[in-house]
């Protein structure tokens, strides 16, 4: 987790330019998912249960596996609130919200448009 190398690699693989994340031109906006994003994100994302001691939200931070820019995602768990979330696999669909202006992005979108699904096992 927290290894930016993978994200940079994914970015290189994506645009083929071989540039470092954050230093190249932002990639084209694409609304949807792509194969391999979830696998890369599972290795590079930092996943945290928030606030500590209670399970109200899952916070996912780390590089977007598509564009390489740092993204921040909050998954509310109000429906599973409290103890019921513990010991469960929670499916989290993360949408890139890197805040970088990607060409072709609709008004109000603050990411590259890609999303990926992670399965987070909340400890019991």
């Amino acid at each position: 987790m927290g290894d930016d190398t993978d994200a940079a690699a994914s970015r290189m693989a994506h645009d083929g330019a071989g540039e470092e994340a954050g230093s190249a031109e932002p990639i084209e906006y694409v609304h949807g998912t792509e194969p391999g994003l979830a696998e890369r994100a599972a290795r590079t994302s930092e996943v945290e249960l928030h606030p500590p001691g209670r399970v109200e939200e899952i916070i996912v931070t780390g590089p977007c596996p598509a564009c390489g820019d740092t993204t921040f995602h909050v998954e509310p768990l109000f429906l599973y609130r409290g103890a019921t979330a513990r010991g469960r696999d929670v499916v989290v669909e993360v949408i890139c919200a890197c805040g970088v202006a990607h060409p072709g992005a609709p008004q109000g979108e603050d990411g590259c448009g890609r999303s990926w699904v992670l399965s987070v096992l909340v400890p019991g």
């Binding site: 945290e48 928030h50 916070i59 931070t61 909050v74 499916v91 669909e93 949408i95 999303s115 992670l118």
Partner: protein, 207 residues
């Protein structure tokens, strides 16, 4: 608590993506929505507070004046309780709608999210309190109105007359004219004022 284990999840679909977008949209508007709700409730509470104060000040004295002593106190207490509850409800409602000015360090995205969640949680909690206080206010006002309507009026309170000859008559005072006192008991009793030793208002005509 141990760290959560993360694995690649199932393949995303158009449906799951739409759901995720809606969740994020709801999350972004969380504080705004709660505060908007609180604003509407606060308006309701403010209207109620205005109503209570108007009724208490304009109409209250006439209505209460006709009651017997303990009921006057009870109505006054209920109205005061209603006023205090409504004032507290308005304050809590306003706090839910607008929050209190505080200094907050927002160093990271997580700090900002914490602040947003706290604001939404506090607003929702204040709103629940404001609603409870609104209903408590209503209960107090209804109690005051009920006591005013159904409480015994001072005119109907029984009186006990004792005569110099040691007789005791208890009933409702209906007339005092030409130095003669008229008390309604099971029958109408007429007592000359000069024969009267004492006359007092009593809670009830006991044995």
């Amino acid at each position: 608590m141990k760290l959560p284990q993360v694995r690649p999840g199932p393949a995303g679909t158009a449906e799951s993506r739409r759901h995720a977008e809606e969740v994020q949209a709801l999350l972004r508007s969380e504080v705004t929505r709660v505060r908007h709700q609180a604003e509407q409730w606060r308006n309701g509470l403010a209207a109620l507070l205005t109503l209570i104060t108007t009724v208490s000040v304009v109409k209250g004295r006439d209505s209460i004046a006709g009651l017997t002593g303990p009921f006057q106190v009870a109505v006054g207490a209920a109205l005061l309780a209603g006023l205090v509850l409504a004032a507290c409800g308005t304050y809590v409602g306003m706090r839910a709608a607008y929050g209190l000015p505080i200094r907050q360090a927002l160093g990271s995205a997580k700090d900002l999210r914490d602040y947003q969640r706290r604001s939404a949680t506090h607003s929702a909690r204040d709103l629940r309190w404001a609603i409870s206080l609104l209903f408590a206010t209503l209960v107090a006002v209804v109690a005051a109105v009920g006591l005013t309507w159904y409480g015994p009026s001072a005119a109907e309170a029984p009186v006990e007359a004792r005569t110099r000859t040691g007789q005791r008559h208890c009933g409702t005072l209906t007339e005092l004219a030409d130095d003669v006192l008229v008390i309604s008991t099971d029958q109408t009793v007429r007592i000359a004022v000069r024969e009267l030793e004492s006359l007092s208002v009593v809670r009830s005509c006991g044995s």
